[in-house]
Structures are given as structure tokens and as C-alpha cells.
């Protein structure tokens, strides 16, 4: 049994997802950006994939921001954080 990928939802993405995090299994190989959007929309919460697609949402893999989120490849045991724009002052 492989370790799942943990996806962490920050800010209002947690509301849309109705949870703070999800665990996704990686039986069929690493999860890329478009795979992730598809899984979030179809398996986690309707509207979540669309909300995460917003260009302002940044992605961190194991605590490091990805310069290009389309380059995401999440493998077993990885943590993917979805970070919407931070709130203003």
C-alpha cells in the first residue's frame, strides 16, 4: 500500500472543499496539475477544481512554492498545499 498524497486547502479553498485536507492515492502514478484539478472537481467537491484553476492560486510541494504550478508531480507521501491570494490589511 503506497502512502497517499496529502492535499492541504488554505483560506476559502477549505470552505469550498468542505475540509482542510484530502488524501489522494497514487496507484496510477504521480499526480500532475491537470490530474489534480480533475480529481478535486470530480472526487472532492464540485467547484473546487474551478476555484483552484484561478491563476492567483499558488501551489507548494512539500513546503516549497512551485514557480510553475503546471510542473507539479506529486508522488507518494508528498504534501501539496493550495494557496489562494492572501488577505489584505
Amino acid at each position: 500500500m503506497s502512502e497517499p498524497v496529502r492535499v492541504v486547502y488554505l483560506g476559502k479553498l477549505a470552505d469550498i472543499a468542505c475540509r482542510d485536507q484530502s488524501r489522494l492515492d497514487v496507484h496510477s502514478g504521480p499526480i500532475g496539475w491537470s490530474d489534480l484539478i480533475h480529481i478535486l472537481e470530480n472526487q472532492v467537491s464540485q467547484g473546487l477544481g474551478q476555484a483552484v484553476s484561478d491563476n492567483r492560486v499558488k501551489v507548494a510541494l512539500n513546503g516549497k512554492i512551485l514557480e510553475d504550478r503546471a510542473s507539479l508531480e506529486a508522488s507518494e507521501g508528498d504534501e501539496v498545499a493550495l494557496l489562494p491570494p492572501v488577505s489584505g490589511g
Binding site: G11, N62, E79, A81, P85, S87, G88, G89
Partner: protein, 148 residues
């Protein structure tokens, strides 16, 4: 000295400011800012969430940049997370420097960056409902004062 912390419980900023003063005998002045949850408005509570792997390292990096840029003797940067009620401190930035202007500008620099570029997500409780606070256009203007 740099004292950079995320706090999950209500805090009194004064002991940290006193400690900064005690540990920076070379400083000619200390400037401090304490941000609090406003009372008297319609906001009943404020909640800040953060992402542990990014938020504190990012604050430490900001503190180091401020310390270098303004040639500080010491800096305190304390930030609450979790649920806060009116009157409670949210943030405290206190800078010790040889000269007044450096200390004041360092606090302003840190606050502009904490407000608009740090990894915090805020929501307010109004009329029994939570509302997420969106980014503001002024935040970009505030940051651009410091040259990116």
C-alpha cells in the same frame, strides 16, 4: 537579536518589547507597532489561518531583510493565528536601531509586508456569518513603496 514567533493564544506585547530594549543597549531608539482587532464596528471576531511550512520561515526571512536593510540592533515580530476577539492584539513589530528613522521605517516596512505578502488568510465574523477578506489593491501600492 531577532524574536520572530507565531502565537496561538492572546498575548501581551510588552514583555517582548522590554526584552528587546534590555538586549539592545547600543540602540538609540525603539519603534513599536501593535495591531489590534478593532472594536465598535460590526466585526465580532477575526480568524487567521496560516500554513506552517511557509508562514514562519517567510516571517523570519522578512525579519532578516528588515534587520539588514535598516541596520537594526534587534527586531521583534509576533503574529497571532487562530480566533481573536475585539481589543486583542493581532501583531506586534518592534525595531531597535541606533537612529530613530531606521527604527520607524523598519516597522513600517515589516507591517506593509506582513499585511499584504505574508501567508495569512483572514476571515471576519459579522452578523453571525464568516466572511473571507480578499486582497486589496492598496496592498500592492503599500508594497511598491519599498521597491518590490
Amino acid at each position: 537579536m531577532l524574536d520572530v514567533r507565531l502565537l496561538t493564544e492572546p498575548f501581551d506585547p510588552n514583555p517582548a518589547i522590554d526584552a528587546l530594549s534590555a538586549q539592545t543597549p547600543d540602540a538609540g531608539g525603539i519603534a513599536s507597532f501593535v495591531g489590534k482587532v478593532r472594536s465598535g464596528g460590526e466585526v465580532e471576531a477575526l480568524e487567521l489561518s496560516h500554513y506552517q511550512p511557509l508562514t514562519l520561515p517567510n516571517m523570519r526571512d522578512l525579519a532578516e531583510r528588515a534587520s539588514e536593510r535598516f541596520d537594526l540592533s534587534g527586531l521583534v515580530m509576533l503574529h497571532r493565528v487562530g480566533r481573536m476577539h475585539t481589543g486583542e492584539p493581532i501583531v506586534c513589530v518592534s525595531a531597535a536601531a541606533r537612529h530613530r528613522r531606521s527604527a520607524i521605517e523598519a516597522v513600517d516596512f515589516c507591517m506593509d509586508h506582513l499585511k499584504s505578502a505574508a501567508w495569512f488568510w483572514k476571515r471576519e465574523l459579522r452578523d453571525g456569518e464568516w466572511h473571507w477578506i480578499e486582497p486589496r489593491t492598496e496592498d500592492h501600492t503599500d508594497l511598491s513603496r519599498w521597491g518590490g
